[in-house]
């Protein structure tokens, strides 16, 4: 991932984004490309297929900064993104994974 920008360093809070996406090669590139081109670091990524495997769920952990609103709108525009939900940093999805990152 990219080096963290000053604005992100200064950010105190984090946001968890939950994306429902079509499950095929390239979806992840589309999503993370929106972040990397803006030098907006993605702190954590988690992706697994859901149900029958036609769709996947992507969880992103990102620092909150003034660009987040625009980022979410850009993600919503992607053809293969079906829904975007925002959660606070208190969401447990990444917390429960912490034991794998010790």
């Amino acid at each position: 991932m990219n080096s963290i920008s000053t604005t992100e360093n200064n950010a105190l809070s984090r946001t968890v984004l939950e994306l429902d996406v079509n499950n095929h090669p390239g979806v992840m590139s589309h999503v993370v490309g929106l972040f990397s081109r803006r030098a907006y670091n993605v702190e954590g990524i988690l992706c697994m297929p859901v149900g029958g495997g036609a769709t996947s769920r992507i969880w992103l952990l990102v620092n909150e900064d003034e660009r987040l609103e625009q980022m979410v709108k850009q993600v919503e525009k992607l053809e293969d993104v079906l829904a975007v939900r925002r959660h606070g940093a208190e969401h447990e999805v990444f917390e429960r994974l912490e034991e794998f990152f010790l």
């Binding site: 390239g26 609103e69 709108k73 525009k77 053809e79």
Partner: protein, 569 residues
């Protein structure tokens, strides 16, 4: 040219056994594609083989893939319908990228089809293999890497739908060679892909916008390219007239309101008229319609309409609040939004505000020195426009000539004006003009260009000759990269570097060598008569005119400055 076929013209029949390549061609035919531009190579030869059997599609053979991309853009910009270009894998695809990125930034519907190495060889650094999918990812609205021939039945109509829906844009379809050769049985053909209806604008927001417009004392209407894409020019003018709104246009919106309309202030921003930028500085309400607050239009954002509330209407929700926070932001089709808005607008004469604008205009109008002398930039543009009516299509390359034409040409019709706005691609003009002429052969298409720009896709002169398109290339030659020269003169202490050409081709011989008749206004005793004759004669022509190196595009807002800090003009 792009009429989707009715089912009864191409009847459904019993299942057919077809290759992926044949499916591509059939779907393009069903989509209504009648002209496309491209250049073959190894990895797309199956599609070209299938294309050779098509009785409906005319393939325009270009000399460089970027030329093909811009021909497709010219067709799309002139008609509003998605147009198609094709290239092979590797360098074919990379050469196409600039034209795709250009379409993305100006929201032009385009479908680019590229050949790819066979699936088994992807990722092996095979001959002419490049990651076209990855390369095109950030410059397309959407892209596909096709994995099976049967998937084409879904992907191709979808590509057209995506390109044309909402905010238009380019879509790329990368098709491996073995997928093109794969044989599948096709039972039923999908319906052609057409633009999906945009979500309806929120009525409460429309009402709020109407109230703000009705209550404003010094409102300005700010039209962007979205007005042209949406076919909303007529309603935009109706709004301006009903509410008494002085109106500015972005580079992309020129033609949406006739430039000589009493409410038109022409273009805003970096090279807009002084009075237009000064009026914006005073306005108390800015009504942005299909515009995206581009930095060339706004100048320093903090200094743009500093006292104004903002109503922003755009089909792309991500444009709302992106640069300037809107007091009322309406996500929706521009034409539909204006239709809903108009009945709630109170008719107003707005004498006070319009008188103030007229006062600013009288004091600081757009100055066009030399307009009566065809040997000056403005004079040449005026002379060309004097020979033509509003049916002509006006295309430009990128640079000083582009800004002079944007300022001086009397554009009066949406889609009359084709120019590379967002990406600002030198080399856009001539192939885009060829595309426009192919799409609308009844029109005269004028391409204003410079000696810098034309050389960036000069090879397409032979395509113009081959296709006998009615394209008139007006080459304004100052033997330099004029806008670079101007910036070095104004902002870099006159340290002129790498902007003056030492060698200069003989453009008359260049054009004639490619099979395009040419005249040199420098050597004509009656340049106006020679110009008129060249414009009248059907078919391609190059019209060369030298202009003085010291000529500048003015006024000019220094990059990074507020619009009211204009220099000159």
């Amino acid at each position: 040219m792009f009429i989707p076929l009715k089912e009864n013209i191409l009847p459904q029949s019993s299942p057919e056994t077809l290759s992926g390549a044949q499916i591509v061609v059939r779907l393009l035919e069903r989509q209504g594609v009648r002209t496309l531009a491209g250049i073959p190579g190894g990895a797309i030869l199956p599609i070209y083989d299938a294309l050779s059997a098509s009785k409906l599609i005319h393939h325009v053979l270009v000399r460089h893939e970027q030329g093909g991309g811009f021909i497709a853009q010219g067709m799309a910009r002139a008609t509003g319908q998605p147009a198609v270009c094709m290239a092979s894998s590797g360098p074919g695809a990379t050469n196409l990228l600039t034209a795709i990125a250009d379409a993305k930034l100006d929201s032009i519907p385009m479908v680019a089809i590229t050949g790819q190495v066979p699936r088994a060889m992807i990722g092996t650094d095979a001959f002419q293999e490049v990651d076209t999918y990855g390369l095109s990812l950030p410059i397309t609205k959407h892209n596909f890497l096709v994995n099976a021939a049967a998937d084409l039945l879904d992907i191709i109509p979808r590509a057209f739908r995506i390109a044309a829906s909402g905010r238009p844009g380019p879509v790329l379809i990368d098709i491996p060679k073995d997928v093109q050769n794969q044989i599948v049985e096709v039972g039923e053909w999908p319906a052609p892909g057409v633009a999906a209806a945009a979500p309806a604008p929120v009525v409460e927001l429309i009402d709020a916008a109407a109230a703000m417009i009705n209550d404003a004392a010094k409102p300005i209407l700010y039209l962007g390219g979205g007005v042209v894409h949406s076919g909303a020019a007529e309603r935009a003018v109706a709004l301006a007239e009903k509410a008494g709104l002085p109106t500015v246009m972005t580079l992309m919106a020129l033609g949406a309101m006739p430039v000589d309309h009493s409410l038109s202030m022409g273009m805003l921003g970096m090279h807009g008229a002084r009075y237009a930028n000064l009026a914006l500085d005073e306005c108390d309400l800015l009504i942005a319609v299909g515009a995206r607050f581009d930095d060339r239009a706004t100048g320093k954002v903090a200094g743009f309409c500093p006292q104004a509330k903002i109503v922003h209407i755009d089909i792309d929700p991500s444009e709302l609040d992106k640069i300037k926070t809107a007091h009322v932001g309406i996500a929706g089709d521009v034409d539909e939004s204006l239709r809903l808005l108009l009945p709630s607008i109170k008719p107003q004469a707005r004498q006070g505000w319009l008188a103030r604008v007229a006062e600013l205009k009288a004091a600081q109008p757009l100055r066009m020195p030399g307009i009566d002398d065809p040997r000056t930039p403005y004079g040449l543009i005026r002379a060309v426009s004097d020979c033509l009516d509003d049916e002509a299509t006006i295309c430009t390359d990128v640079g000083q000539h582009q800004m002079w034409v944007a300022q001086a040409y009397p554009l009066r019709r949406p889609r009359q004006w084709l120019t590379s706005g967002g990406l600002g691609t030198m080399g856009f003009g001539m192939p885009a003009a060829i595309g426009a002429a192919l799409a609308e052969p009844q029109r005269t298409v004028v391409c204003f260009t410079g000696d810098g720009s034309i050389l960036m896709n000069v090879q397409e002169l032979v395509t113009a000759a081959e296709e006998k398109v009615n394209v008139k290339i007006v080459l304004m030659n100052n033997a330099s990269l004029g806008l670079v020269f101007q910036q070095q003169t104004m902002f870099y202490g006159e340290r002129i570097y790498a902007s003056r050409f030492k060698g200069m081709p003989d453009f008359i011989r260049v054009a004639e060598g490619f099979g395009v008749p040419a005249i040199d206004l420098d050597h004509e005793s009656d340049p106006l008569a020679a110009l008129a004759a060249a414009l009248r004669q059907r078919g391609p022509a190059l019209i060369h005119a030298s202009i003085a190196l010291h000529e500048q595009v003015l006024p000019m807002v220094p990059p990074g400055a507020a619009n009211k800090e204009m220099i000159g003009g």
